[in-house]
């Protein structure tokens, strides 16, 4: 029974990492502009994520050290500080996006502008972290996040042409607007393979005191969680392709997105959409806030645990206390959340090498993973992902300029 509950960690990471502002918006854009042609990007993202998350969990279960720990200990303070700065900047942008996503969900529900909701949402996220425990946040989000399955149900309900969907699962050259096509492909990969997730997952493994006996569960949760997340994102893409593409609707605001589910479910769809957006973004915002604090605390050797009262790990708790209100400022200031989403997803993709490349080394370092290191297959996969990460890092900026508008 306990083990069953632990699978929740994988599922929550799946939802928090997959269906959040980033993956929802990029999937909707991809579906509306390129129909089913970019489904492959979601699949590639989900597969990469499943492999990397499994490794992050294995690393921490065996070594009892988290990824930020290992970045500092194995690669030294200079490397750590560079990766810390890059990661914190990206996490800040993504957290701002997610808080904006929750605020927009509340605007849709209430009619009151998202700008007014940003700070209260930040406050709610903070108070749950301040008072709550890791288990509460993990399980709360995973249960509530199941509402995002509405996108899968919606996709099935709309009877997509299966032949076209399957064809979209294979990478293909763009039919039109190549810059935009590749920009969206990179955004989808950035939204799926979020670097913060590995740090969050590895911290979760240590928070939940994982050991060798958890390796099987780790494998199941990584596969299930990421598979679950991927299917939900594909559902959103399919719905967008069916609802938006025939009408030639280009997604240029989150405000259009409730149409995705009202097409399939009518009025109930609106409620389901608002709940999905709000919950998924809120969960992601909390995970990112925690990860931003974990990263600082673990790398610099502070005390840390979401399960300790804030008085015991003051530096850790104050880190997220400072970061959350700062991340609520862009939305409160009226920044265009969809633009912020696209920028932060592309930068997220660009930041991948700083965490993926070290993982390739760590998963072969016997001092960390002992006899549980990567086999040739996992090494080949993670080497390919590392190569992909470097390609993404190089192409992301030019694509942001050419295809981002």
């Amino acid at each position: 029974m306990k083990r069953m509950l632990e699978v929740a960690l994988g599922i929550v990471t799946g939802i928090g990492g997959f269906l959040e502002a980033g993956s929802l918006a990029t999937a909707a854009q991809a579906g509306s502009e390129f129909r089913f042609d970019l489904i492959w990007a979601v699949i590639v993202g989900a597969v990469c994520l499943a492999f990397l998350v499994e490794m992050a969990g294995r690393l921490s279960a065996i070594s009892k050290h988290t990824i930020p720990d290992a970045l500092r200990e194995r690669f030294g303070i200079r490397f750590f500080v560079v990766s810390l700065i890059i990661m914190e900047l990206v996490m800040f942008l993504v957290m701002a996006t997610e808080l904006g996503g929750v605020a927009i969900a509340l605007e849709l529900a209430s009619g009151v502008s998202y700008r007014w909701w940003a700070l209260p949402v930040g406050f709610l996220a903070w108070i749950l972290l301040w008072k709550g425990t890791f288990g509460l946040i993990e399980k709360g989000v995973s249960v509530l996040g199941l509402v995002t399955l509405a996108f899968v149900v919606g996709a099935i309900h709309l009877h997509p042409p299966m032949a076209d969907v399957v064809r979209g699962a294979l990478p293909r050259p763009p039919a039109h607007d190549p810059a935009r096509y590749w920009f969206l492909a990179v955004s989808i990969l950035g939204a799926s393979i979020s670097p913060y997730l590995f740090a969050f997952y590895s911290a979760g493994a240590v928070e939940d005191k994982w050991d060798v006996s958890h390796l099987t569960i780790n494998r199941i949760t990584a596969g299930l969680g990421m598979g679950f997340g991927g299917i939900v994102a594909i559902g959103a893409l399919i719905v967008a392709a069916i609802v938006f593409h025939p009408l030639d609707i280009q997604v240029d605001s989150f405000m259009q997105l409730p149409l995705l589910l009202t097409g399939a479910f009518g009025r109930v769809g609106f409620v389901l959409f608002v709940a999905s957006l709000g919950i998924a973004c809120f969960g992601a915002a909390q995970e990112i806030a925690l990860t931003a604090a974990y990263m600082l605390a673990q790398g610099l050797g502070w005390r840390w645990s979401e399960n300790l009262p804030p008085a015991v790990d003051a530096r850790f708790s104050l880190s997220y206390t400072v970061l959350i209100p700062l991340a609520a400022i862009p939305a409160a200031a009226g920044v265009d959340i969809l633009k912020l989403t696209n920028i932060s997803m592309v930068l997220s993709a660009a930041s991948l090498p700083v965490i993926v490349a070290p993982l390739l080394i760590l998963m072969n370092d016997r001092r960390y993973v002992r006899d549980y290191g990567n086999g040739w297959f996992s090494n080949t996969v993670v080497a390919l992902i590392t190569a992909l990460a470097f390609v993404l890092a190089i192409v992301s900026f030019p694509l942001l300029v050419k295809g981002g508008g």
């Binding site: 070594s63 009892k64 050290h65 720990d69 500092r72 200990e73 030294g76 303070i77 200079r78 750590f80 500080v81 301040w130 008072k131 610099l300 050797g301 502070w302 005390r303 009262p309 804030p310 008085a311 015991v312 790990d313 003051a314 530096r315 708790s317 104050l318 206390t321 001092r367 960390y368």
Partner: protein
């Protein structure tokens, strides 16, 4: 044993197995013609700042003098108290009795305690 690979930046654990920061620096001593030897491990952000570059180090030192006085000096653990080096460095001290958590303690008393829910 390789000092930089095996010791520097590693996790320190105290005699109760409690995490007590990282090996932020090493102090080495050379006497006469003898090869230099490590005399202690330093734990503290000032040591860490120095390793990031001369300017960062100086700036941190100035900041520390203004705000913290002597308390912010790095804490030194004699090499003779090192009990084992694996992925972590086990040292024979009690973290509670050292200064490694002065900043933590200061923040708990002066900041966290003033936020509702911040008291133990």
């Amino acid at each position: 044993m390789l000092l930089v690979l095996d010791v520097l930046d590693k996790q320190l654990t105290d005699r109760h197995g409690v995490r007590m920061g990282k090996a932020d620096g090493l102090v080495m001593l050379q006497e006469g013609d003898a090869p230099p030897r490590v005399v202690c491990i330093e734990v503290g952000s000032l040591t860490l700042a120095r390793r990031l570059g001369r300017h960062v180090g100086r700036w941190a030192a100035r900041l520390a003098r203004r705000w913290g006085g002597d308390r912010t000096q790095s804490y030194r653990i004699p090499w003779t108290l090192v009990r084992g080096i694996t992925l972590e460095i086990a040292v024979d001290v009690d973290a509670e009795e050292t200064r490694v958590n002065v900043v933590e303690d200061w923040l708990r008393i002066h900041v966290v305690a003033h936020i509702p829910g911040g008291r133990l």
